[in-house]
């Protein structure tokens, strides 16, 4: 039974997804309002950034009027919204580009880093959590618990610095910072902005391995944090599932323990797990800011911190808004996946 016909038949469910969408719209609106207010609370006068400190008063007044800063706050907000609808986030003082251009340039690198990290975290975290739950109280379970608690406690920037020191400087088995060796700079055409993909598309395998080697360290460091969340939640969900009566029934039927564990128990935790993974993925955006700073990874996080240090407000607000919107979007996706996959919600 497909979701669409089902939605048509059940008005309650249709209304539920509408409420979900409208609440996302309200959240997005709130997000825009908050970033707008932060921008207006700035101690830096944007007019002075344009005209300089020694401009005559009438010029300052003219520029203020051009920027709409002499208008009441509500009118200013309306202008801000109007610009936003047209995809105009203003111009960055630092790079002299439109903020949207900058973000489009820097975002793929962050996407590459965060996606690799979440894949690593799922591949390691989910099996660890499942096995820890199956052997609750065993030594393995305790080790997993300590590993995941440590992952939630370690400052990611310190971990990154120490990894660089050990693997790059001392052992020399990992490349240094950045997305690619300078040797390959400009060698591969920029299609997706993700270097590993671009090199593969261009069939330039030297550049591909170099990009992959550069990606490995920051992605592993970034993965550790979400790995611990995914492991913990998988373990908790599995413990709950394994306590279910259907597990007793499956055991009574004489099914093999592996089949019970992976087919019956794990099959039932897929839905909440997807929600956790989506949230962890969104959380990686945050870790990415610190990881990118340590590894000089040219992503949105590095752009954001660079703009912050230069008090480049349009860039800061634009990047904050984009990250917030992606975050809301991932939350919505998690919610939709939940509705589509869980038969009880249907």
């Amino acid at each position: 039974m497909s979701a669409i016909t089902d939605a048509g038949r059940s008005p309650a469910r249709f209304r539920a997804s509408l409420t979900g969408l409208s609440s996302v719209a309200i959240t997005l609106f709130g997000l825009i309002l908050v970033t707008f207010l932060i921008g207006r609370a700035m101690p830096i006068d944007p007019t002075l950034a344009i005209v300089g400190d020694h401009a005559p008063p009438d010029v300052v007044a003219k520029v203020r009027a051009d920027l709409g800063l002499d208008q009441p706050l509500i009118v200013q907000f309306w202008i801000y919204l109007e610009h936003l609808v047209h995809g105009d986030l203003g111009r960055s003082v630092m790079t002299q580009n439109l903020v949207t251009t900058d973000i489009a340039h820097f975002f793929p690198a962050t996407l590459e880093l965060a996606t690799t990290a979440i894949i690593i975290a799922i591949l390691i975290g989910v099996p660890l959590g499942v096995v820890a739950a199956a052997r609750q109280g065993s030594r393995f379970d305790h080790v997993v618990r300590v590993i995941s608690l440590a992952g939630q406690s370690v400052p990611i920037f310190v971990l990154g610095l120490l990894c660089l020191l050990l693997f790059y400087v001392k052992l020399g088995i990992a490349p240094g910072t950045g997305q690619q060796d300078v040797l390959y700079e400009g060698m591969v055409p920029d299609v997706t902005g993700m270097r590993v993909l671009d090199a593969a598309l261009d069939a330039d395998w030297d550049a591909f391995w170099d990009a992959l080697a550069h990606l490995a360290q920051p992605a592993l460091v970034l993965a550790y944090f979400s790995l611990s969340i995914i492991t913990r939640m998988t373990r908790a969900f599995m413990l709950e599932a394994l306590a279910g009566e259907y597990i007793v029934a499956a055991r009574a039927k004489g099914l093999s323990p592996a089949r019970i564990l992976w087919r019956h128990a794990f099959g039932n935790i897929m839905v909440p797990l997807i929600t956790v993974i989506a949230l962890a993925y969104a959380g990686l955006l945050e870790g990415a800011v610190l990881t990118e700073t340590v590894f000089s990874w040219p992503g949105l996080g590095l752009y954001l911190t660079g703009s912050l240090l230069n008090a480049d407000m349009n860039a800061v607000l634009g990047a904050t808004l984009v990250v917030g919107a992606v975050y809301v979007g991932l939350n919505l996706l998690a919610d939709l996946a939940y509705r589509l996959l869980d038969p009880r919600v249907r």
Partner: protein, 302 residues
């Protein structure tokens, strides 16, 4: 009423407490017994207590002045005079580490004092009042939840001005929503309980019901959440310091100390590493403690 001198094991563990105080003390003692059996949680508790004690006693314990420079001894390795070595202007690292603990824990306490009551009030009011008030308050909560914490804090600090008080306000602004959610959920489960209906029948006002009967029941899950949250706050504060948006040098804040010396990691790796270890230990201590407290106080959470 039993006098306090009978505060013995048997009195605490009795099946038939004679007073309300005996019952609640007994419950606390049973919780403690359960907590004591969890070695990881005990390790967390001991580490947290040691950390707090060292931070409070920093002026007594520290061998040097935290800002006393000695330019002839820059990046000194650990020695008898300087147990953990010296930093980029020859200041004693151990001293700065101890004073840094004061800053970190001070920030955590300030944020908690700001955040926990606000979250509790917002959540309980939303849950108890319901209707339009609930909708508005929860929508507001969702908006603040929609930002990744560090990024919103960065934007706020940029709007204010880098420094400890800005960092505290920024983190507090991003930290309250989960508490409101939690308090609301707890309130919704308690709201329609029989004992609340009974209190209402005796003519208690809404304020009295909320303050005397609902709020106390939210406290235990709030304590668990606060403890687990402390590690996140320590990490966010250190991250802000590392990015140059939190405490400013020359303050001995751990994240700031790493930021100012990370360039020298090749020559003197221990100088940025030691504050890093301190952040890790502090954060791990509260995580272990919170994990153990959750098992005792709030078994229904995962």
């Amino acid at each position: 009423m039993t006098p306090p001198m009978s505060l013995t094991r048997d009195w605490l563990l009795t099946d038939a407490p004679e007073s309300r105080r005996q019952a609640s003390l007994g419950r606390l003692y049973r919780g403690w017994l359960q907590f004591r059996g969890n070695y990881l949680a005990m390790a967390g508790l001991i580490a947290a207590v040691v950390l707090i004690a060292f931070s409070l006693a920093a002026p007594l314990l520290a061998p040097y002045d935290p800002s006393a420079q000695d330019l002839t001894n820059r990046f000194g390795p650990p020695s008898a005079a300087h147990w953990l070595g010296t930093d980029e202007v020859g200041r004693d690292l151990l001293t700065r580490l101890l004073y840094g603990g004061r800053i970190t824990l001070g920030m955590v306490v300030a944020i908690m004092v700001l955040v926990a009551p606000v979250g509790l009030v917002v959540g309980i009011v939303a849950g108890y009042a319901g209707g339009i008030a609930d909708r508005i308050l929860m929508r507001l909560t969702d908006i603040f939840l929609a930002f990744p914490r560090l990024i919103l804090a960065l934007a706020f600090v940029a709007a204010l001005k880098p420094g400890i008080s800005s960092a505290i306000i920024a983190i507090a602004l991003t930290a309250w929503p989960p508490y409101a959610r939690l308090a609301r959920a707890e309130t919704l489960t308690i709201r329609n309980a029989d004992f609340i209906a009974a209190v209402r029948l005796t003519g208690a006002s809404a304020t009295r019901i909320v303050m005397r009967h609902i709020a106390p029941l939210c406290v235990s899950s709030l304590i668990v959440r606060v403890t687990l949250d402390m590690s996140g706050i320590i990490l966010t504060a250190a991250g802000l310091g590392f990015l140059g948006m939190g405490a400013q040098p020359p303050m001995p804040e751990w994240g700031t100390m790493i930021a100012t010396t990370r360039g020298q990691i090749l020559d003197a790796w221990w100088v940025p590493t030691i504050p890093g270890v301190a952040i890790f230990v502090a954060s791990l201590a509260f995580n272990l403690l919170g994990d153990g407290l959750r098992d005792v106080l709030d078994p229904k959470q995962g």
